[in-house]
């Protein structure tokens, strides 16, 4: 096919041709990684060697030992909490920039994504400095005389993990919500007002349903990577803030049990997939057409 005929092809076909190389590379790599995980999960680690006889023992162990399911459940809850809080915090910010800011919206968005310009590790670590025993918060409150002794409950728990994750992922939530708001034809708000809606009613009946897909994608965007996060829990979570990601990480490193690690990873993947699917059904997002 000559260049000429490629560009003469119909829109969708042309699109397909142009995205094909990227799609092939990405799907190839993903398929390879996924297949490796599946293979490992049905093998057995025997000290330094790998027993390649297919077995479901790793999965059995995952469901038999309560710690695994408990950690997965806890990770899902922490990720869900972080996603919900982040989206709730990001929504008004996106709303303000989209509907109230008249000029230089792009500058606002750039400033909002500023935390992203810094290393993820540093961002997490800075929370350690703020929340720690001799941290900024404790020192500050102590100097003001509001507390007599430093509060230990700030760091090394699930709360610190959720707080840190929320801060880290906030820009990821603002952008999709902001974009879904930008797509709303402003005359729709005038039409709603014209038809008798107060601003609050217009928000509930027009803006909210039209931004639901943005809210949902923001939630997913945060939920998926935070379930398996192991850096934040390790740095600010302590022993009580440990998540499934830490366990998988340990399986692939210190504990040197790749098969069990793979099985846990696949089970996490399955759980995330089911939750995302259920949530999209529940919110009716599949009905909203993405333009």
């Amino acid at each position: 096919m000559t260049t000429r005929t490629i560009f003469a092809a119909s829109g969708s076909r042309q699109g397909l041709l142009l995205t094909a190389p990227a799609v092939l590379v990405v799907s190839g790599i993903v398929a390879f990684a996924f297949a490796s995980l599946v293979c490992y999960s049905i093998w057995t680690q025997t000290y330094l060697d790998m027993d390649h006889t297919p077995t479901t023992l790793n999965y059995q162990r995952f469901f038999r030992e309560p710690m695994f399911l408990f950690l997965l459940g806890k990770s899902l809850l922490i990720a869900l909490g972080a996603s919900v809080i982040t989206v709730l915090a990001a929504y008004p910010v996106a709303y303000y920039v989209s509907f109230k800011v008249q000029r230089r919206k792009l500058l606002w968005i750039t400033i909002l994504t500023l935390p992203f310009w810094m290393s993820y590790l540093l961002r997490v670590f800075s929370w350690k400095l703020i929340l720690g025993y001799n941290g900024i918060l404790n020192t500050g409150l102590g100097t003001l005389g509001l507390i007599s002794a430093p509060v230990e409950a700030l760091l090394h728990n699930s709360f610190a993990v959720v707080l840190t994750l929320t801060h880290s992922w906030a820009p990821f939530a603002v952008v999709p919500i902001f974009l879904s708001m930008e797509r709303i034809d402003r005359s729709l708000l005038q039409a709603a007002a014209d038809l008798g809606d107060t601003p609050l009613q217009a928000f509930r009946r027009v803006v909210w349903p039209l931004t639901l897909s943005g809210v949902f994608s923001a939630g997913i965007l945060i939920f998926i990577p935070t379930v398996g996060d192991y850096v934040t829990p390790q740095l600010v979570g302590g022993t009580s803030g440990i998540m499934i990601g830490n366990l998988i990480f340990a399986m692939f490193t210190k504990l040197n049990n790749w098969p069990l690690g793979s099985a846990i990873a696949l089970m996490s993947l399955l759980a995330i997939g089911l939750i995302v699917f259920a949530a999209s059904r529940l919110l009716g997002v599949h009905k909203v057409e993405v333009k």
Partner: protein, 366 residues
């Protein structure tokens, strides 16, 4: 118009956006049940005025009174006006039925009553069978009718229409014009219609306000706007018109004597326009001019002249003849119906042609 009949009164309304002044002291009154158009080129302020009527913008000065109540500070959701938006502004997440019923949802009426209202409008707008269609999948004409039905569902006192037919193709537009007029007569609501299309304004309206540059140039019936424009601007905006320069000689008892290089001294039964310099403009519509044999004397009550044909254009049912007047060289357009005895057939570019028009058709403008 009787003063008690004023449904909408706009008194000295001005609107400024920063340093840009969109409206400069507008005074208007619109009668109940009237089809009233705001006509003007883009940027003349007609849409700003409509937005002020709808409550989307507050006037910088002046008052808006609807049905006897000053509504300057009343937000759109508390006004008994409804708007048909230029872009339709249909809610993309709702189907046709829910769009039409959008405003009714909050109203204190039984569900059965609401359903009857919506279904009545679906019948009126010929949208039967499309109730559950996604509004994005409708044609332009259908969207237009949904927008109209949605606005009429609340039985507003005043319906505001912002160039609602602008996005439709010519054929559909003609159809919608007829429908719009018929619907307005059936529902008896006051319509305020914004358009830049003078033909559309004339075809639909009881009265038209012509706006230029934030001011009202003239408010009149379509017939008067065309036949009795009060200024050169209005005359040129509504249809096409021929203009000649003249000098005022005398004006007594409603008769005016004017001298012009092309027509000599002529006397017209029309009061003279106010002119400080004594110079004025004379105007005549192209279709009011007839082609005559060159050198023919003027019949009684008619004004005659001669010119050189500069262009001829055949348009089927009519022909356009462009002349350059003999003395001044001023251009004159003539529209001639193509009847069998038409004088036009003997014309050719470069030949001399005579023409005449009735003295009463000549307008005197400032």
């Amino acid at each position: 118009m009787m003063s008690g009949n004023h449904h909408i009164r706009i008194e000295g309304v001005s609107k400024a956006y920063g340093s840009f002044v969109a409206l400069k002291g507008i005074d208007l009154s619109i009668a109940k049940g009237e089809f009233f158009s705001l006509l003007g080129p883009s940027g003349c302020g007609k849409t700003s005025l409509l937005k002020i009527l709808g409550g989307f913008e507050a006037p910088s000065a002046g008052d808006v009174i609807i049905a006897g109540t000053r509504v300057n500070d009343v937000p759109p959701y508390r006004r008994n006006t409804n708007m048909v938006f230029q872009s339709y502004a249909l809610f993309p997440h709702l189907d046709v039925y829910a769009n039409i019923g959008y405003g009714l949802k909050r109203r204190k009426a039984s569900e059965a009553e609401k359903r009857a209202t919506i279904e009545g409008l679906i019948d009126l707008m010929q949208l039967k069978g499309l109730e559950n269609r996604n509004v994005e999948k409708l044609s332009g004409g259908q969207k237009q009718r949904v927008a109209l039905a949605r606005a009429l569902a609340l039985k507003p006192e005043v319906l505001l229409l912002d160039e609602p037919l602008g996005a439709l193709d010519k054929k559909l537009r003609d159809e919608m014009q007829k429908e719009l007029r018929a619907i307005q007569q059936r529902v008896g609501i006051t319509f305020v219609f914004v358009t830049h299309d003078q033909e559309e304004a004339m075809a639909l309206s009881d009265r038209v306000a012509v706006l230029f540059d934030g001011r009202i140039a003239q408010v009149d019936t379509p017939r008067n706007l065309y036949n009795r424009p009060k200024s050169v601007d209005v005359a040129q905006f509504i249809g096409t018109i021929n203009l000649f320069d003249g000098v005022l000689r005398s004006a007594t008892g409603g008769r005016t004597t004017v001298e012009s290089p092309d027509f000599g001294t002529i006397s017209v039964a029309e009061p003279a326009p106010s002119t400080a310099s004594g110079r004025l403009r004379m105007a005549v519509r192209p279709e009011q001019v007839a082609i005559e044999a060159a050198g023919a004397a003027a019949a009684p009550g008619r004004i005659a002249g001669e010119g050189t044909v500069t262009a001829l254009s055949f348009r089927g049912d009519r022909s356009y003849v462009e002349l350059a007047l003999k003395t001044s060289g001023a251009p004159l357009s003539v529209v001639v119906p193509n009847v069998s005895s038409s004088q036009v057939r003997s014309l050719d570019v470069g030949t001399t042609a005579g023409f005449s028009f009735a003295a009463e058709d000549l307008l005197l403008l400032e």
